[in-house]
Structure formats: C-alpha cells, structure tokens
Symmetry: C3
C-alpha cells in the first residue's frame, strides 16, 4: 500500500497541514522515522523528534500546535494512538494475495477448491490434498499428497510440505520452512555403514501454530511429530522426528529438539537451546538461550541454564565463581604454603 498524505488524511478523517502528495509505504517510530513513512506523536515527551524526524507524514493530536516548522506533512486526528493501531493493522493486511487460483500453479485435475482460497504462481499441489476455506498459499509452495491444510492458513513462498502432513486452522508457516521431511534415523550394519530407516509418520500442527522461516520439522518414524495448539516456533529451528510440543509453548530461533523428546505446555525455550533426545520437558519450564538440556527431571516451572543445564540461579552462582577460578587457585596454593609452614613450625 503506497498512499499519499491526502488519502491517508481522508482515511483517518483528520485535518491535513502540508503536502497532500507526500507518499508513504508504511509506519515508523518518531525517533527513527525515515522518508516514505508515517509516524506519530502520541506521547508529548517525544515532541522534540516531531521537528527532526525524517518521516514524511506526522500524525498529531487535534490540539497540537508546533513550536517551530515541521519537515513532515502533518495530519491532526482526535485519537493519535487509535489512528496508529488502525494504520498498523491496515498496513499489515495490505498486499495480501486476493482469493483466486493462479493459472501458473500445478494442481491435480480433481482439485476441489474451498471458498475464497488463494493459490499463487508456480505452486505445486499433489493429489488428495485438502485446503480449507480462506487459506492463502503463496507462490513456490509444494504440498505433498494426502496433506490436509485447515482454514484461514497462510503458507508463505517456498514452504515444502511432505506428504500426509496436517496443518491446523489459522496456522502461519513462513518462507522456506520444511514440514515433514524424513527424520535422521539409520541403523548401522556390521561394517558401521548406515541403513536408512523408512519414515512413514506425519507432522501434525494443531490450530494457531506459527512456524518461522527456514525451520524444519521432521515427520514421525511410524507415528507423528506434533506441535500443540497456539505454540509459536521461530526461524531456523529443528524439531526432530517423533517430538511432541505442547500447547502455547514458544521456541526461539535456532533451537533444536532431538528425536522422541517432548516439551510441555506454556514452556519457553530460548534461542539456540538444545534438548537431548528421549526426555520430557515439563510444563512452564523456561530454558535460557544456548542451554543444553540433558535431563527431564526438572519440575514444572523450573528455569534452566547451562550446559548441561541446571537450575538458572545455581548456574549463575557457579559461573560467578568460575570467573574467579584463577584467583581461587592462587588462594589454594597460598593455603598449601601456609600449612606447610605451620607444619614445619610445629615439628
């Protein structure tokens, strides 16, 4: 959405002071305004930035009177904060693909499109795929046979969905994520050569899950890998085969959950965390970034840190000593000298 100040003013039912032709593509914060954006003076303590911001349009309250000339075009409105929320929502929806199926997509001949779905150019949908109403499949997506996509789902460009995956209603999957590839399962033969174990399970994303860009979720070996309702997974995360993630759990970027482990509900997994295979992480556990969790023994709500991870405060206390280890080492040496001297004296 590229609109000019006059159009924006009409949208907000405001009063325009300045150049009505000034064009903007989106919003910005007043202290970081750049040309081509609209910004907001909602909090009087930021007034100084009103005069210096590089944003093209400034939205202010009806009662605001500048003390010196503004560089930006100004739009006066009744409710600055409300106007901002309205515009952010509007900009975030803008440019979303319209319902319709591209002539350049490859679909099965018997594909039965649900109401108001959108399928972009160069997307490939294999047979026996069901896509729910109002879902948006961007260009360059691959959806393997037998997969079921819910309603109001958004799948960004380049997402690869292997066969038989299930994607719940209102899920969002970001660009180049891979859903349902084979798990890392092999058995060594007598020569130490690896024989591939067939993976025939599936991935299940329950409703309202969001998956980040370039994240990978392996299919189950025989059963499923599942992400619970409302959980959010950041970019570049690895979820191995047979893993179960609970509901309303968040997993930050570059974390990895090894095979057959599970994570409870409302847990918080930090960036670059590693969780070992075949363990269970209890509900509401919070794992500090980069930690390596090797044990499922910690109860609900524990905060973990370290490698291998222990209780957060215990790690910090040990690490505080770690940083002074050379000094402690000297104190031990000093003690040894003093004891030797005392022993010599007492003989």
């Amino acid at each position: 959405m590229i609109i000019n100040a006059a159009q924006l003013c009409e949208l907000l039912q405001g009063e325009l002071i300045g150049d009505g032709d000034m064009k903007i593509y989106g919003p910005s914060q007043i202290d970081k305004g750049i040309p081509g954006t609209v910004t907001f003076l909602a909090n009087p303590k930021y007034e100084e930035y009103a005069y210096t911001t590089d944003a093209s349009i400034l939205i202010v309250s009806r009662d605001f009177t500048p003390k010196s000339p503004l560089k930006a075009s100004m739009i006066k409105v009744d409710d600055v904060y409300g106007a901002m929320m309205f515009l952010v929502e509007k900009f975030s929806k803008n440019g979303t693909p319209k319902p319709g199926i591209s002539d350049l997509a490859q679909l099965p001949t018997d594909f039965a499109p649900a109401q108001d779905i959108s399928i972009g150019a160069f997307t490939v949908i294999e047979k026996d795929v069901v896509i729910g109403a109002r879902s948006i499949i961007y260009p360059h997506v691959f959806i393997g046979h037998g997969s079921q996509i819910g309603e109001d789902v958004v799948i960004y460009p380049g997402v690869r969905i292997y066969p038989n995956s299930m994607i719940g209603d209102r899920c969002i999957i970001h660009a180049n994520a891979v859903i349902g590839c084979d798990g890392f399962g092999y058995r060594p033969d007598e020569k130490g050569q690896y024989i591939k174990i067939n993976h025939v399970g599936r991935v299940i994303l329950e409703e309202d899950v969001e998956i980040g860009a370039n994240t990978v979720i392996d299919r189950g070996t025989l059963n499923f890998t599942k992400i619970g309702k409302g959980s959010k997974i950041d970019n570049l995360v690895q979820i191995a085969h047979n893993v179960t993630i609970g509901k309303h759990t968040v997993i930050a970027a570059q974390a990895g959950i090894a095979g057959s482990s599970s994570v409870g509900d409302h847990a918080r997994v930090g960036g670059q965390v590693g969780v070992a295979g075949h363990i269970h992480i209890a509900d509401r556990i919070e794992i500090q970034a980069q930690s390596g969790v090797h044990s499922g023994k910690y109860p609900e709500g524990t905060r973990l840190f370290g490698y291998p991870a222990i209780q957060y405060n215990d790690y910090l206390k040990s690490y505080a000593v770690f940083k002074q280890l050379p000094a402690y080492m000297k104190r031990i040496e000093e003690l040894e000298k003093q004891i030797a001297a005392l022993k010599a004296d007492s003989q």
Copy 2:
C-alpha cells in the same frame, strides 16, 4: 496412498472383520493410533491398546480373539510383524513421482534424459548438466550448469545446486538444502572493508550420502568440499568451504564445520556442535551435542564434550565440581579462617 480396509486385506491376504470401507493413509503405533491409520498388535503385552486405539484398522494374528469389542476394523494375518514391515516399505515408496519430465520444467534444448528419470514442474536445469538413470528431481529444484547427478538420486523440492557440483549415486537431498554456494571468504583491505574472494571450486557428494533439509554446503575456494561415501548429514547443518567429511560419518542437526577442516570416517558429530576451521577430527571420534572442538589433537575413537571440547569423562568430572563451586569457595574461605586462627595461636 489412501486405501480402504478391504484393499488392505487383499494386499496382505488376510481375513477382514469389520468395515471394509474404512480408509487409511499410513501406519501408526498401537498406543498412539490416530484415525486414518492402520496399526498392529504384534506383541501381546500391548493387547489393552487393541480395545482403545483410535487407529482405523488393526492387524492381528490369525489366532487372536478379542475379549471385548474393537473400535477398529480388524485384519487377521499369518505374520503380523512381516505385514507391518511390508506396509511400512510400501507406504514409504508410495506417491514417489513416476518417471517422466514435466512440461513445466525448464531444460536446456539439448538435454539428453537418462532412462526413467523424473523431473518435476518448475524445476530449472542449466546447460551441461548430466542426470543419471532413475533419478528423481522433484519440483522447484535448481541445478546449475556443469553439475553431474548420479543414478538413483532423489532431490526434494526447493534444493539449489550451484554450478559444477557432483552428486553421487543414490544420494538423497532434502527440501531447500543448498549445495555449492560461495564460501565465507573475504580479505580485508587497508580500511577494514571486505573484498570478496572468488569461489570456483565445487562440491562433491560421494555415493549414498543423505543431506537434510535446509542444510548448506559451501563450494571449495579453488578445489572442492567433499562428503564421503555413506555419510549422513541432518537438517540445518553448515559445511564450510574446503571441508572434507570422511565415509560413513554422521552429523546431527544444526552442527557446523568451519572452513578447511576435515572429519574422519565413522565419526559421530552431535547436534549444534561447532568444529573450528583448519583442524582434523580423527576417525571414529564422537562429539557430544553442542560441543565446540578447537583442536585436532584427539586420537581416533575419542569421545569429546565441552567448550572448548575435552575428553568426555574429564568434562563431566569437572562439571560435577563446577556445580558445587559456591560450596568449594566457602570451604576455601573456611580454611583461610582456620589457618589464620592457627597462625594466631602459634605466635
């Protein structure tokens, strides 16, 4: 493959008891059965699940007689375990693209297809590419000029292969992996600005290599980056320029091997491990997840852990003390007090 109970029964030459129209898409474990799957009662100790499983079809032995009604349709067979192995193999092959070249792929005009290859829609193959017999190239793949793809190779959607790469027979490359992009090589000029070093080497995957989804393997600067025969690399792994990985080595998800290093044969590299540049990791070394290996001094078969990595048991012993460091610190302070008291006494 979506088939119903009657078809499945015929396939297994079994005896059907229940609804022949019940449709399934794949197998499941009996304790985790979900609708739309076929499950198996192979081990009598799981019999309780036979009555409660949500799987749609249950395969049992000829001599099994249920003690109470089943929810699932039942198929009796002579060899339950054999039937399971047969079906897992069958489901894993199912839906594989058939030989043929999509009209929607972009090929060089002089492309000479080998026998029974499959090339999917929207795949781009540049000039001077050779693809061996029976290889399957899914949709959305890019293969740069001069690359050589062996026989019986499988390349999943969205894989990008830069020019002059060599992919050995029976390799499998999962979705969105990138093979052969430029290494991270620059030289700083006198102002600290980075000048790109041209990369003209290639990537060589020997036979039977499997590469995970979203993994990246950089090309060599002048020579090659090579993955040895039978090695398996998980998702989201980084293999930098000029690296050599030996044969039958496994590298778990999110590990990274820095430039010009090498890893021996039959090694095991854990998830999120980092190996520094310009070192050699000996054969059969096992590196615990998240370790950072900075030295190539460890002999064949060593197990490593830590950051920087040391011998596994040494790290565990040191870490056991680390966890008690605050207590040890107090013991040092206590010793200092006692010595001071003894010295005072002895004066």
Copy 3:
C-alpha cells in the same frame, strides 16, 4: 564453462604440449588436482606434484622443463600466477545469467525493467517493485510488493523477499535466504495464549552486503532491521526484528542476533554465537565462536568468549582451571585433613 586445452592455451596465449582435446570445467590446487580441472605450478617447491597430479591440464612457466613424463597436458605461459588469477576470475563469472527476462517469470503488467537486468524462470515479482540496472535475479525468487532492489545486485535461486524490503547496490543474496519475514513477537493474554504482534517494518540492506544461504532476517516491528554497508553475513544466520548491524561487520554461520540488539562497525561475530536481545555490541568487538553475549558493557575492540561471554583471556584462564577442578577439589580436601590434624596437634 567447459573448454579444452587448445582453447585454454589460446586464451592464455601460451604454448601447448599434450592433448588439445582434454576438457576442463574449472581450476584446482596442484596437490589436490582432480580430472576435469586445470592446475598451476607457480611455486617450484610443489614441483613433485606436477608429475602426480590428477588434474587434466597443468600450467607452467615458459622455462619449466619436466624431469619425467607428465600425465596432464601442459601449457607454458609467461606469468603463471597471473594466468591463474585470470582464469579464477573468468571461471567465477562464467555461466552467469545473461541480461533478459524469462517468459516463465511472473511480473506485474506495468513492470519497467532497468537496463540489462536478468530475471530467471519461475521468479515472481509483485507490484511496485523496482530493480536497478544490471541486477541478476535467478529463477525461483519471490520479491514482495514495494521492495526496492539496487543496481548490480545478485539474488540467487529461492530467495524470498517480503514486501517493502530495500536491497542496496551490489548486494549478493545466496540461495533460499529469507529477507523480511515477521519477527517473533507475541503478547501473552491472561490465559498465557500468544497474540501475534503485527510486523509492518522493513529490512534495509545497505550497499555491498552479502547474505549467506538459508539465512533469515526478520523485518522490523514498526521500523526497520538494518545491515550496514559492506557487512557480510554467512549461512544459516538469524537476524531478529529491529536489529541494526553496523558497517563492515562479519557474522559467521549459524550465529543469531536477538531482537532489538545492535552490533557496531567492523565487528567480528563467530559461528554459532548468540547475542541476547536489547543490547549493543561496540565497534570492532570480536566474539569467539559459540559464545553467548548477554551484556553490552564491553568496550570497543574487546575480544569475548564464553557463556555468558567474558573477556577472551579471562575465559581461557578460568577454563584452564576448570579442566583441573577435580584435582583442586582433592587439594581442598587434603588441606582440610591437614588443618584438622594441625588443630588436633595443637590442642
């Protein structure tokens, strides 16, 4: 570029001795030569390899006379090193897509191509996108509406650029990188369920930035995420929303910079490093691989290591003691025994 020895000889204005039909696809080092490559004897101390190399063509100085027969075809030139630099440059440019727009790309009807741009097959360009002169957009690229791509940019296959991104002149973006996806921002409601925060900011790459394969850069929430001029980012890196990276900074593979943090100019961030959110990393700071930086208190030029990161040398000194902790523990126990004995004696 596949050329034979005769053509190569003419290109270098050299003198050919051997088979003129011998074909090569690229260069190699003399000690690692493989068939199909041209190698170089520039340094006399490598002469032994001249007789054993598997390279197909060997370039030598005019005055070189082999002491025994060569396997390779030989080309004599005046300046071996100059010939090598010339060929590396030539091979690196070879096969680059020619200017032109593929009939198989999807462009807006009013798209106005700049001079000598190249757009590959199956690429999708949304409305209001501007692409500068001589830029190369490979196949399978997605560029969202309102994005601005500078001049002489190279965007490799499978790159996904979300709307309103700005890519500066001479940027290089490697395959399957994702630019501008939503940040990982949610607010929990009273039940601990996460409500998505709309992201309407953009990504700005200044001039001469290089982005590695499968790297992800999130858009700003309201403003921008910015990578400064000349900075180089390796593969599989995560740059979160609202981050600012300075100029001429390098970030190695699999590192992650959390939301709203900033990194200064000429900094060096090692592989798998994690930088916590909302901190500032000063100019010229060097962060050792795998470190976790939790604080922005370190001054310009500091070298950091550890988890949480401290000064490099301090970490090494503490870690040296860490490795001997079990021995120190025994020394403390020994001291305690000796003190107890001394106390018993003195009573």
